[in-house]
Structure formats: C-alpha cells, structure tokens
Symmetry: C2
Subunit: 119 residues, 2 copies
DNA sequence: CGGCATCCGCTAAGATACTG
DNA sequence: CAGTATCTTAGCGGATGCCG
C-alpha cells in the first residue's frame, strides 16, 4: 500500500489510535481469553483501571466494531462485552505484532505477561 | 495516547506506543516508499511536522531498532534514516492492520484532526 | 543541517463522588 | 451494577531560539 500523494490521511491511524490507548490491549486480551465478560468482571480483571477509563475504552472499541456490548435493563443492570468477529480478526493481527515485540524484546515491561502473546 | 505506566503490561504495548505516536506511521511509510532519507527531506515529506516531533519519533523508532540512523559529521552534517530489517517486518504486519482498517472503513480522518496524528 | 532546550497551552488520564 | 459528572494533574505537542 502506497501513500504516494495522500498527505495526511490513513485509516490505519484511526485504528491504531483506538487500540493503542492505555489498557486497551489488556482489555482485548482479557476478552479474548475469557470470552464474554460483564463490566465489573472486566474491571476486576484489569487491575488499576478506573470506571471512567474502562468505559471510555470500551466505548471506542464498540464504536470501531471491535467489541459487542450487550445491555440487559434488569435490576441491577447487566452489561456484558465480548469480542466481535472484527475483534477476532484484529486479534490475529495483534498476535503478529506481539510476536515481533517479543522477538525484539524491546525491554518494555518484561514482567510476567504472556499477555496477548500466548493467546 | 499516553500510557503512564500500567501495572502489568506486555511487550506489545511498548511497541504500540512507539508506532502509534503522531506522524509515526506516516514517517514509516515515507521511509518504506522512498528508501533512505535525510532529516530535511523527511521533514519536507511529512508536511506540518515540527523538527522536535520528527526528532522525537525518529529517536523512538531508532531505539526500537525499527529505523537505522546514519550520521556523517561533515559540514554541514548529514544524517539519514532508513528502515531496518525490523522495520521491514513491522511494515508487513502494519499492512495487515491497514487492510483491516480499510476493510472496516472506520471513517476517521474526519473532523480536521490531521488524522495521522494520534497518540 | 540537524538537532536540543525552554516555555507554554491543551487534552487526556487519575481520583472522587454521585445516580438510574 | 454500570456507568456519568466534575475537578485536578501530568505529559504531550507547538513554537521559538540556540548550538555544533
């Protein structure tokens, strides 16, 4: 894919912006390994994230069609999230990215995190 | 997008952080399509970027081993950049990302936010 | 020419409190 | 439970100026 004369516009940038936000890859990883998760469960699985940020990230992922949001107006309300087909596709590509990152060993946060890497 | 410091992280986050900075993908594409470029040439090929940002992005890409920097202490100095083998690998993966983005047509680059900019 | 240093403004991230 | 509202803070990005 050539950029040639297209000065400042690339769909990939929008996608990158969505997935590169803080916690985002973590959230995606959790959803990919745990399947469908409720908001509270997800929050517990992503230690340290605030409701505000989690909501924000999920909203953006949803807008991009990467995750599906299922809202049941029961009492108490029940909202669950899961990767969409797009999310699955994205996961495949991200795995390649992750493989590169691991191979290169960029020295970022090497703490125990098979994270997205292993799955 | 800022990543302060996630308690747990994965190597991919570091890589994503590097490549998702403003102008970064644009710079990578310029280097991939034009080959080796001097600082000034690159700056001219990325309209609107400041020296400070361009330097910053190139430094991070260099630190990640994605681009090679060649410095000749002539007068005037001559500094050129080119994709490293890692950069070529990365480009392959980014192409898949780009393909997804195009297929999904996320429709960013709207509201004149310079699209390429992200964070 | 190819930077780095500095100041400065903006926005995103964090914490906290509150609600249907 | 699953958010929203608000305030504060911190870091990024822009502009400018200087140097080898």
């Amino acid at each position: 894919m050539k950029f040639s004369e297209a000065p400042i516009s690339c769909p990939m940038d929008g996608l990158l912006r969505v997935i590169s936000g803080p916690w985002t890859t973590f959230i995606l990883w959790r959803l990919s390994t745990h399947g469908t998760l409720r908001f509270g469960e997800l929050k517990r699985l992503v230690p340290g994230v605030s409701s505000r940020l989690l909501t924000d990230r999920l909203r953006k992922l949803e807008d991009a069609g990467i995750v599906n949001r299922d809202y049941k107006p029961t009492i108490p309300p029940e909202v669950s999230y899961a990767l969409s087909p797009r999310g699955q596709e994205l996961r495949e590509v991200l795995k390649h990215l992750s493989d590169l990152a691991i191979k290169w060993d960029l020295g970022q946060a090497k703490h125990g995190d098979e994270a997205v890497a292993s799955q």
